[in-house]
């Protein structure tokens, strides 16, 4: 399964080892881990709760992984995303991409994260000293995802 949603923590080393197993053609492993911070927008964050849309989340992530594998010459890709309650310093998300060479693996890994941030149905709610608040989407995340869009034709 290239995509997993779970409440429990993950072991990036074990996940990477499993993804590489029995494939001596792999020459590059690119990975990203997103971590829960203790502050956001200048306010302390004591805890966050991650909610998702079961069913759609898996489909959306599988589509993103499939698109990455179609666009870049990579071998395997894995996305593990946690939901439920998380505290600062806890791991939130893992993306791993394997391939023959680093350039394609790096690009596919970054693409998967940028699309996950803007297209996969997850929502964060933060606990702060002033109370709970839903995290607002960032324009910078939309801009990061738009980098990967093919250039629009100017014919129209």
């Amino acid at each position: 399964m290239p995509v997993r949603i779970q409440t429990k923590d993950f072991d990036a080393g074990a996940e990477i080892a499993a993804l590489r197993r029995d494939n001596p053609k792999i020459g590059a492993v690119a990975s990203f881990i997103g971590v829960c911070r203790d502050a956001n927008d200048g306010t302390a964050v004591t805890k966050m709760t991650l909610e998702h849309y079961p069913g759609m989340t898996e489909k959306a992530l599988e589509k993103i992984v499939a698109e990455a594998k179609a666009r870049w010459d990579v071998m395997e890709a894995l996305v593990v995303h946690r939901v439920g309650e998380l505290k600062p310093s806890e791991q939130i998300v893992l993306v791993v991409v394997t391939g023959a060479h680093r350039g394609e693996a790096f690009a596919a890994c970054e693409f998967i994260m940028d699309y996950l941030k803007t297209r996969a149905p997850f929502w964060k709610k933060e606990e702060t000293p002033q109370g709970a608040r839903w995290v607002e989407a960032r324009a910078s995340d939309d801009e990061a995802a738009q980098r990967w869009e093919p250039p629009k034709s100017s014919a129209a």
Binding site: H52, Y53, M56, V93, L116, P121, W134, E136
Partner: protein, 85 residues
């Protein structure tokens, strides 16, 4: 026709419910039509579903547009912009 409507994340809190089964007229044939129907309930519905809030809509767990068709038995989810990762 019967459809299942879901309200996720902050929208669920604003509307006070996670979703509902609705019996709607076949004339309400698009996502935009359903949204207008729900906004007509007034109060929190009108405020939370107002245009310009960047709300997203999925039909049968695929991202949808205002013009996307709504058919009997569909699952239509309204939610705020996503913030995972």
């Amino acid at each position: 026709m019967k459809v299942k409507v879901l309200y996720l994340a902050s929208l669920r809190e604003q509307l006070g419910k996670p979703g509902e089964d609705l019996e709607i007229s076949p004339a309400t044939s698009t996502v935009a039509g359903l949204r207008t129907l729900l906004m007509a309930r007034g109060g929190a519905w009108q405020a939370a579903l107002a245009l310009g809030k960047g709300l997203r809509v999925a039909v049968n767990q695929e991202m949808a547009q205002p013009t996307t068709a709504v058919n009997p038995g569909d699952e239509i989810a309204f939610f705020p912009p996503v913030t995972g990762g």
